[in-house]
Amino acid sequence: MSIVLAAVTGLLFATGAWLLMQRRLTRIIIGIGLLGHGANLLLITAGGSGGRPPIIGTGDVATMADPLPQALALTAIVITFGVTAFLLALGYRSWQITGDDMVEDDIEDRFVTRRRAVDGPEAELVDGEPDTTEFEVGEGS
């Protein structure tokens, strides 16, 4: 890890986050792509410095790069591809329905805050004296 690599990782995350907070699904997808790259860079650099390819028989094992972060990053790359394809399908569907790829506000969420909440004891709403019996007249006995 070097400061330059850490800074590039930070930049990839920052630009990814910036795009993620946009209203256009296309930009959000590209943002997720950038975040994916940032994550892979973080995985590889946090896993130690580079070295020779980790293929047994091609040289001294001690000089080889760490294979584990590589395997993890490889998995991450492929999964990001799957996610990107899926999000693109979402964008495509959004276009089919609205002719656009705008992420609209959730109207239901707005309604939630308009709903009247219970503001206190319900019994206040019912007038009358406090009951001093649990029985109606003529009941029980």
């Binding site: 890890m1 993620l20 973080l42 590889i44 490889l74 693109l88 276009w95 959730d106």
Partner: protein, 943 residues
């Protein structure tokens, strides 16, 4: 055995609730089985538990659950737990019998009450027999939940709902506070077992701030449960429950939970500086305030409710002091209180049932046949007032004597004084209760046609209805006259709490001592309060008028609830406003702050600026392309920039010594770029941003925060791996790759062997993604897909044929060589995907479809099937999942061929990736003129 009884309570309760109105009031007869079972278990064991009053052997039962995590259910019954069990099951049985009389006519929801009551009794039984603090907490919360359901059983009454809500909010919140206290206590002391707490704690430094805080938190829980001031508001409110339920919950069980916990902890924790002041002050205030308020009531049941609050304060004081003398008094009092308070509640219920009122101003005379009820009321009230020869007198005498005799250092006289004042008030409200029942408190002003006077015309209750209360009152008298009956149990229970105590015998007449004089004083002053009761009432009203300006506990509680709801609404309006962008800003902002702060300390200032000069060009590409992707206005340009970032990353992987990654990244970027182009061609060329301007700076700030956070995190994280002393797992993977994984490409061996499960999961995700892509994109496709209008250029066609063949061969090479050389199923599959892209560019979707004889989803699903079969095949052969074997075979022409069973697994991976690519083309590959939005489609259908 005890665990079975616990189980019986919950099973029986659930069965009665399920039977519902079909069994109706008979549910209580069934419910009685549970306390009977407890008693049948407990009574034969009492001898062992008591062992002549000197503390016998405790009964223990352990049920292992998860042995590895030390999760066990430990039940332990000593003499004190036996006292509690006697209350829970004895009064439980009485209540069940009583309820049969009380619910004389069938009424909806009665069976549910019986079932819930049984479950509640089970929770209470568990609470007093748990030896583990966390198990105790679980049962504690179970009592809160079941009591909530019991109080709110009449769900159509707003009052019942309010009372239930108030009860569960106060006791539930108290329970959670207590949980944090219990965990702190368990962690600092080092044990969660009540039976070990004393020994472990005794050997420790006892003045830590942590333990003080822990104890205060636990006490908040106990105070809320036992309705101590200022948490007492819920108990009188809970009187909306039917009287049998009130009898059980608030005379004998629920509220005793807090007292029980204090009783258990006091002998251990009283040396702590905060313990005695807090308990004695809170107890004294509760005792006096409760008594004062009881004296003002006209409703017999509410009077008893406030009386219970007062008595609980008294019990808190005597148990909380932590001396064995007072504890002995407390054991007598808790038994006595259970008996007399239950009897009194039952009397109130009988009167209410027969005369339809509990208002003492409306009772002039009950009528003939009420003698037993009146005697019961007088006896039980006398025990409450502390009159000889009842058990309440013995308990109170003992408490006053122990308090006044100087067993307490310092404020002994203040404590005694508080007890005396509280006792005077208790005497007075006991008298008020008796006078009310006997018809001496009538007030003509409240009598009208709707509220007639009860004047000797109340029908006499049946014997069965009166019996439970009468028996309990009789027991109060018996224990008073012949204290030897309870003496062994009381002394054993005291010893169970204070192992080194030598409690004196329980006697009615203890000689002329200070307690006797104090008692006589209490009786004299209390009687005076009764004789001049109209003046007392006037005084109370005068004092109460200025006080009533202050909010009551009830009002404060609801103000708090209202405030919380208002704030929740306000917060929701800001945070949950429906905008995804705002949600993300909040999430990203909070997340980056939380993971930055802990890492800042780990940042190593000696981190080099640059590892290798080779990084500069590739990182330069990445930076420029990333900034470009974030800023350009055109969609396609932005997607291409993203591709450029990917190519830069691939270059970086080459430098770092990760050829597999580089190959994967190259292939994927190519594919992804094609997909982007396919989708973006239908969308407008440019973004036009509609986000309001104010958000832009905030977005920028949040994005910057995320970037800085990750930067700091990356610097810290790089250190983390070097700091680990243990040998890296990767070293072992390098070492065992060839012997165990039969391959020399370690990355590939990890993917198909060491972490093969991971890969299996991953290709499943890819399969789902592929299905999702097609499902989403083609949900509105038209029935006929016209391949018409694809213009094919012969030159492109020919070159694609050549390229496709060679790239196809390359992809197969990657697949087969991958175990020992850079490559593998992922890389191979993606390369094949790139070849398919070429075909698509040349001939569109029809050409892609004609490549293979089977549809895309067969490839996708077939791949997963191949991988799964390879993974589980070794089981059939007697190996472990994903265990791979090496095969060698001499084939004609090819010579010796080595293959491992990892190959079919990798083929599965390969097929899934190819299938995903094919699916993507199925989804997005239609020609633009075939596209319609749904609106256009509908218009087309209409015209």
């Amino acid at each position: 055995m005890l665990a079975l009884i616990l189980l019986l309570h919950f099973a029986l309760g659930a069965a009665i609730v399920a039977a519902g109105d079909r069994v109706n009031r008979r549910g209580f007869a069934v419910a009685a089985l549970a306390p009977v079972a407890t008693l049948a278990w407990l009574l034969p064991r009492l001898g062992d538990l008591i062992a002549g009053g000197s503390g016998g052997t405790a009964y223990t039962q352990r049920i292992e659950w998860v042995a590895g995590l030390d999760l066990t259910l430990d039940l332990r019954v000593d003499a004190f737990a036996a006292v509690m069990l006697l209350l829970v099951s004895g009064i439980g049985l009485a209540v069940c019998v009583y309820a049969l009389g009380y619910f004389s006519s069938p009424k909806a929801g009665v069976a549910r009450l019986a079932g819930l009551l049984t479950m509640f009794a089970g929770a209470m039984t568990g609470l007093v027999t748990s030896d583990h603090l966390l198990a105790l907490f679980v049962f504690w919360e179970l009592t809160s939940v079941t009591s909530y359901a019991l109080i709110g059983n009449d769900d159509r009454s707003p009052k019942a709902r309010d009372a239930a809500l108030q009860a569960i909010l106060i006791t539930g919140a108290g329970g959670l506070v207590m949980l944090s206290g219990l965990v702190m206590l368990g962690q600092t002391v080092g044990t969660y077992r009540l039976s070990e707490l004393a020994t472990v704690f005794a050997g420790q430094e006892q003045s830590g701030a942590l333990i003080t805080v822990a104890v205060l938190l636990v006490l908040v829980g106990a105070f809320t449960k036992s309705a101590q001031w200022p948490f007492s508001g819920w108990l009188p409110g809970a009187m909306v429950a039917p009287t049998p339920i009130s009898t059980y919950l608030h005379a004998a069980t629920m509220v005793k939970a807090g007292v029980y916990l204090v009783a258990r902890l006091a002998p251990i924790l009283y040396p702590l500086g905060v313990w005695r002041p807090v308990l004695l002050v809170v107890g004294a205030v509760t005792m006096i305030f409760g008594g004062w308020r009881a004296l003002r009531q006209v409703d017999l049941k509410v009077l008893l409710a406030h009386g219970t609050v007062s008595q609980l304060g008294f019990l808190m004081m005597v148990f909380g002091a932590g001396t064995y003398d007072l504890a002995q008094a407390a054991v007598i009092l808790i038994l006595g209180h259970g008996a007399f308070k239950a009897a009194l509640f039952m009397v109130v219920g009988v009167i209410d049932h027969q005369a339809h009122t509990r208002d003492i101003r409306r009772i002039a005379a009950l009528g003939p046949g009420w003698r037993t009820v009146q005697v019961t009321a007088v006896l039980a009230a006398a025990s409450m007032a502390g009159l000889p020869p009842l058990v309440g007198f013995i308990g109170k005498e003992k408490a006053l004597l122990a308090a006044a005799d100087g067993y307490l250092t310092g404020g002994a006289w203040a404590v005694t004084g508080a007890m005396v004042v509280g006792s005077v008030l208790t005497f007075a409200y006991s008298g008020r209760f008796v006078l009310g029942v006997l018809g001496r408190m009538t007030d003509r002003n409240v009598i009208d046609d709707d509220h007639p006077l009860v004047d000797g015309d109340a029908p006499a209750p049946t014997a069965m209805f009166v019996a439970p209360g009468a028996v309990l009152a009789g027991l109060s008298l018996l224990a008073g006259v012949a204290p030897a009956v309870i003496d062994p149990l009381v002394r054993a229970a005291t010893t169970a709490l204070h192992p080194d105590a030598s409690p004196k015998a329980v006697v009615l007449w203890a000689g002329f001592n200070i307690a006797l004089w104090l008692s006589l004083g209490v009786i004299a002053v209390g009687s005076a309060l009764m004789v001049w009761r109209s003046r007392v009432t006037a005084l109370q009203n005068r004092v109460h008028t200025p006080i009533s300006v202050l909010p009551t506990a009830e009002q404060s509680f609801w103000a708090l609830v209202k405030g919380a709801l208002r704030n929740a609404k306000r917060t929701t309006r800001i945070v949950q406003n429906g905008s995804l962008q705002v949600y993300l800003m909040v999430i990203l902002g909070v997340a980056s702050l939380t993971f930055v702060i802990p890492v800042i300390g780990a940042v190593d200032s000696s981190t080099p600026v640059l590892d290798s000069w080779l990084h500069l060009p590739v990182m330069g590409i990445v930076v420029l392309a990333a900034l470009g992707a974030a800023m350009v206005k055109r969609r396609i340009a932005s997607a291409l920039m993203l591709g450029a970032v990917g190519y830069g990353m691939a270059g970086f992987f080459v430098i770092q010594g990760a050829p597999d990654l580089a190959l994967t990244q190259f292939a994927i970027e190519t594919l992804a770029t094609v997909l982007f182009v396919l989708v973006l061609r239908v969308l407008p060329r440019e973004f036009e941003d509609r986000l309001p301007g104010v958000f832009a700076p905030i977005r920028l700030a949040v994005a910057a925060l995320v970037g800085i956070g990750v930067f700091v995190f990356a610097l810290g994280a790089s250190q983390a791996r070097d700091d680990v002393a243990a040998p890296s797992i990767s070293a072992e993977m390098l070492e065992r790759s060839v012997p165990d994984g039969k391959g020399s490409n370690v990355v590939n061996v990890i993917l198909v062997d060491f972490r093969g499960f991971d890969t299996l999961g991953e290709i499943t995700v890819l399969l789902v993604a592929g299905l999702g892509v097609v499902a989403l994109a083609r949900v509105a496709r038209r029935t006929t897909v016209a391949p018409a209008g694809v213009s094919r250029s012969p030159v492109v066609d020919a070159s694609v044929r050549v390229l496709f063949a060679s790239i196809g061969v390359l992809s197969l090479y990657f697949l087969f060589a991958g175990h020992n050389q850079p490559g593998g199923g992922f890389v191979g599959g993606l390369t094949a995907g790139a070849a398919i892209s070429l075909v698509f560019v040349a001939g569109g979707l029809p050409s892609v479809r004609s490549l293979l004889p089977v549809p895309a989803w067969v490839v996708l699903g077939g791949g997963l099937v191949v991988a799964v079969v390879t993974a589980i095949a070794p089981i059939v052969l007697g190996g472990a999942v994903l265990e791979h074997a090496l095969f060698e075979a001499g084939l004609p022409l090819l010579g010796t061929v080595k293959a491992t069973s990892a190959l079919p697994f990798d083929i599965g991976v390969y097929l899934v990736v190819v299938g995903l690519v094919l699916m993507a083309y199925e989804a997005f590959g239609q020609e633009p003129e075939e596209f319609t939005t749904e609106e256009q489609h509908l218009e087309g259908a209409r015209s």
